[in-house]
């Protein structure tokens, strides 16, 4: 399903970091069966040593580890290279640490994981690797700035928090700034791990996003609908009055 899906040639390389040896062996096994090249590390320090030997395409990191916790490791990794990280953790997503997690991780999966779901999320993160998005803030107009790494926007000077799904959709749109992104693509980016998602998810989420970030949600100037195809993210030129 995945191999060759996003990159021709070599199998994608994943580094798994977890202090539970049973899980390491099993997960490595499962992912190898699906065509990935797998490296494993038992703790954060080992993981950093492995990084020095060559960068993987993706990291899967446990949050709670004895010697260096997942958050510290993720920050260390991001300081060296912008590698995508999926957090695999027993801490549930409603945890207060989830906020911190969002700065450093592309996605998270709670333990015990369902392998098909984990695989779907890996695929989604990998697909996004090709997306070239400004690392810092993306100024879309005098009244709208996106900071997708922090899943946040600034609308009329006020900070607005985006949901993970909203920021995934905006990520896909921002990667194709000014060009139309099809509804099916957005559905795949936003709900790639959900079997029962249909295009109405995209439509409703876009409507909610406009309520959040458009100066006038009824007359969108940034999140523009392309009839019958999808959506387009538009950057207002500084000279042009908004």
């Amino acid at each position: 399903m995945l191999a060759g899906g996003w990159r021709a040639g070599a199998a994608p390389r994943i580094l798994i970091v977890d202090d539970d040896p049973n899980l390491l062996v099993l997960l490595a096994d499962q992912l190898r069966n699906d065509g990935f090249e797998i490296q494993t590390a038992r703790d954060g320090e080992e993981a950093l040593r492995r990084l020095d030997g060559g960068w993987p395409d993706l990291l899967i990191v446990d949050m709670m580890m004895a010697r260096m916790d997942g958050l510290t490791l993720a920050r260390e990794v991001k300081a060296r290279a912008d590698l995508p990280i999926i957090v695999l953790s027993a801490i549930d997503t409603a945890d207060s640490k989830a906020d911190l997690l969002e700065e450093v991780a592309e996605d998270y999966v709670t333990k015990p994981y369902h392998y098909p779901e984990l695989r779907a999320r890996i695929a989604r993160v990998m697909r996004r690797l090709g997306d070239k998005v400004p690392r810092r803030e993306l100024v879309l107009g005098p009244q709208l700035t996106l900071d997708l790494r922090r899943k946040a926007a600034t609308v009329k000077g006020e900070p607005v928090q985006l949901t993970p799904t909203e920021s995934r959709l905006l990520y896909a749109l921002a990667a194709n700034l000014g060009n139309t992104v099809g509804t099916e693509t957005l559905l795949d980016r936003g709900w790639g791990d959900t079997d029962d998602a249909d295009p109405s998810y995209v439509w409703v989420t876009m409507r909610r996003l406009r309520q959040k970030i458009e100066p006038d949600p009824d007359h969108p100037i940034h999140l523009v609908t392309v009839r019958g195809i999808g959506y387009r993210l538009v950057q207002q030129q500084p000279t042009q009055p908004a």
Partner: protein
Amino acid sequence: MSDAGRRPIELPASSSARPEPQRIGPSMSFRARLTLAMVLGALLPLTGFGLVLLFVEVVRTGELDTNLVRVALFVFAAAIIFAVLIAYFLTNNLVAPLKAVSRAVEKASAGDLSVRVEVAGEDELARFVESHNRLASALEQRNSELRRILLAIGETSPRDGLDRLVAHATRSARAAFGMIEAWIELGDPALFPAEETIPGEARPVRAVLALPDERVGVLLGRLPATRGWDAADQDLLELYASEVAVAIRNLELFDQVEQQRQRLVDLDQAKDEFLRGISHNLQTPLTSIRAYAEQMGSEQPDPRLAIIVEQSDRLYRIVRQLVATSRLESGTLKPAKEVLAIAPRVRRAWDALGATSVDFELEDEAAGWLAIADPDQLDQVLWALLDNANRYGGGAAIRARVAPRPEGEQLAIRISDAGPGVRPEDRDRIFQRYERGAAGAKLEGTGLGLYVSRSLCQAMGGDLVLDEAAEGDRGASFTILLPAEPPATNP
């Protein structure tokens, strides 16, 4: 004076119990009596002198000269009028200061101690007015001392701590009583006995910090040798000391409450840490168990492996229920707001239960409405309600219906079973923590399901309610309400 000063606080109460003063002398006014005395005093010798003159004249001439009598009567009448007038003016001068004193006393008793009576001279009246002035100024000074003291005590907050309270009380005592130095010793007052007063040296004063049931310490001080110190001053100092004692007691109580509160906060944190640890330590092996069973099942299908997967999911959900309870109580649960179609989630939640022997009917009438909810939390709620329906439903079919609510932007998910239902008296109770229905004691479970589910629904901006049982209905029916979005059209 000393009576008024000794119990300044109780003044209104004691004055009403005091006996009426005895009235001395006739019921004439002071001025009338004085005038009468002066007139009589002036006229008696005059009259006597006139009578003697008349008698001598009668003896000398042998007859009563009517002219002389007339003159005598005229002089007498003129003398009376003159005497009354002089008496009137003299007494007027005498009574005016008395009236002024009387007005001042009236004002003082109404609370205005600032009025002083001006009087010239050195006589008894002047001394009387002087003593009134002294009384008023002494009372005024004492009142302002008392006010300063009460203010000083009122300003002391328990949060400042014992050291600051004592320092503050000491400073205020020194200022209010005009002491050279003052200090407070905490502990048994007997350890700090009163010092002897040596004439010509600073006068030691002492008051016990007394509460009705305890003596917390003693207030000691030294006054300038020239400063007078009477019983009233001592009373005031003791009153002040007792207020300080109350403040110290309040501080102790405050500290106790604060310590207990801190202990509860610590315990709560410890509980959270414990749950977090438990959750991690259970989830780690569960992850391996589940993943291995899943992997083996995918290689070689076996219903026993499916049961292992199901049961590890069940255990995982119970762990999550405990964690969610802790998070709800500490307010750290922040549900996501994602767009979700409900019916497929209900179906998946049912399938995950693995109750293949029970019929499940799902009606999807959402008509394109999508809920705004946290998928993980919603799955927990659905699982808890379906699991309940399955356990209490007695094997009969379980029905679920998803439909928008006509009156607001909400989706309703109703889950009904055909079991014994909920007794009317249990309707509120079942949503409380660690509660189960009538047959609860015999059944497994944490007793947290409905409590956590309702709290999660409310945290997501919705609710969970037990539907009113209609006549002839069997079983229990719960409705989950979630905020929802109307259908969007194809752009």
